[in-house]
């Protein structure tokens, strides 16, 4: 069943991609092939592969339980928030929270998670910013 859904999504994607490809406006000067042909070939291959999934699906993989899916979903949300807050809070503070959260969810005890968060964040800051001179996001505190 998973493969059928995947094939359906793939087919929609392929059709969407193909339609978009035909709508590319051709420039005044163009080569003999133009910008649409290759994307259309790609969309065709994608479409054919998707139809194959619809017709002959593989056995479904073991999807995790709802709880685990939520776990991954929350991790994604935290990472999105991290990406947004990085320039606001600065690297060290934002990373402390994100790394600590991941460590906690991967099975660390709360105290250990806090330590991993602080350790990762400060460790990366020292190695990459102070030693290697990479530019990391600066927050209001300057780090």
């Amino acid at each position: 069943m998973s493969d059928r859904i995947f094939g359906g999504i793939g087919l929609v994607l392929a059709i969407f991609f193909g339609i978009q490809a035909t709508m590319i406006e051709v420039a005044f000067m163009s080569d003999a092939v133009g910008p649409s042909v290759f994307p259309i070939i790609v969309a065709t291959i994608m479409g054919l592969a998707s139809i194959y999934f619809l017709v002959k699906p593989d056995p479904a993989p073991d999807w995790p339980q709802a709880g685990r899916l939520a776990e991954i979903g929350f991790a994604v949300l935290v990472l999105f928030a991290y990406a947004q807050l990085l320039p606001v809070l600065g690297f060290v503070v934002a990373t402390m929270f994100a790394a600590g959260y991941l460590a906690w969810r991967l099975g660390s005890k709360p105290v250990e998670a806090v330590l991993v968060g602080i350790g990762t964040s400060v460790g990366i800051y020292v190695v990459f910013r102070l030693i290697l001179g990479l530019s990391l996001a600066r927050g209001p505190l300057g780090f």
């Binding site: 092939v33 991954i72 969810r105 991967l106 991993v116």
Partner: protein, 515 residues
Amino acid sequence: MELLSSLGDGFLVALTFQNIGLALLGCLLGTIMGALPGLGPSNGVAILIPLAFTLGLDATPALILLTSVYYGAMYGGRISSILLNIPGDEPAMMTCLDGYPMARKGQAGEALALSGIASFVGAFFATWGLVFLAPQLVKVALLFGPAEYFALFVLAFATLGGISSTNQAKAAFAAALGLGLAMIGVDTQTGVPRFTFGEVHLYDGIDFLVAIVGLFALSEVFIFLEHRGTDKDSSTGPKVQIGRIIPPWSMVRSCIPTMARTSVLGFIAGVLPGAGASLGSFISYSMEKRLVDRENTFGTGDPRGVAAPETGNNAAAGGALVPMLALGVPGSGTTAVLLAVLLALNITPGPLLFTNNPDVVWGLIAALFIGNVMLLVLNIPMIGLFTRVLMVPPRILMPIVAMISFVGIYGISGSTFDLVVMILFGIGGWVLRKLDVPLVPIILGTLLGNEMEVNLRRAVTIADGDYSVLFGSPLTIGLWSIAIIGFIMPMVAGKMLKRRMQLAKKTGEDTDLVD
């Protein structure tokens, strides 16, 4: 002779303090990454690319660092295979079969040392193979026109899904997805924006580094989140005593014929497109088992059963560099990631690389020799150091991996948009891995998509819009035939091979990134 003098020049390039230091660092990091279950060569190199890039390293030092990581990871994978019966990366899977039984018999140190020697032999011969074979392949490649290149790219995609994929339709889908992603952005030939939907960030396309780090490194974090606390959780394993770390000479001597044979076999497996190190170690082990296993000792801790796959996978790792450097078409997952390094540094791989940037090629090859010696030294006397690293549990390791991925990508562009795209790739990579869709063709598609299209358009434009030029020369017909055979053959033979590999690897389902 000319080859040797080029190689000599390469050593002059490689033997600077900076380059030796980078090679050492790469070897250390690579061995650690190879040893840790969950971090393999391709995601290890993927995490480090943006860093090498933002540190402002030149092409040669950056490549030296990253190929040392690549070679190091091939060495490191065996450590957890032998000690924990968990392959550190996929090519090390076969090493579990005899390595772990040896460790159970109290010969862990000997198994580690022997496999270190075997890795050295395999990698050493493969690097010589690279020296001799790559320039020959370059001579052939110089005959290629745009039509031949287009056919060659098709060949690369047709065979890459190849033997490691169970379902060719999924490999084809992955390739199309990657090619489609490469189309996003302004068309290089006419200047028309394609698939950008008015989003300015998309005008210069999706950065393939963002895609690579998301698909390889971040999706791994999600896999660990999914499996935490279940029996697929690899953080629990019995402790094994190391024992003596110098194998008796008789043991090494008994393995010499095995190492000689599997060096050649592994190298060939590596050069062939789409095979890579996993296949190299697999066929090496199977062949040796058939040839020398008279007393049925393979699988019970036979030293030859440790030497064979380790020689094979390291030889294949060197072999896979041949098509990557000479043709610009990688033969395996990690070499695809290494190709990304070259492209990010604005170096076009392929035959012209040897004439335009000989310092890069020969410096790299010389660095491989140097790195290989370093790895031998690191991996025999200092093996205890690496076994201690294995004690770092994923719950501490994976947050670090995730954060370093973010640092690398943010360092390149300083843009939150790229981070968001990377997370999307991470979650996409997780779903695709669940569905058994190979990730390597996606990466290869995003890397080669534009180049492939340019060659198609150039070929057809030169022929005044005649598409038959794509099949117009004997060379193109040859390439197309290999591509078609390479796509169809795995449907028949691949199923059998895959099933046997599955049977052979009782553990470690989740180290499923292709070498």
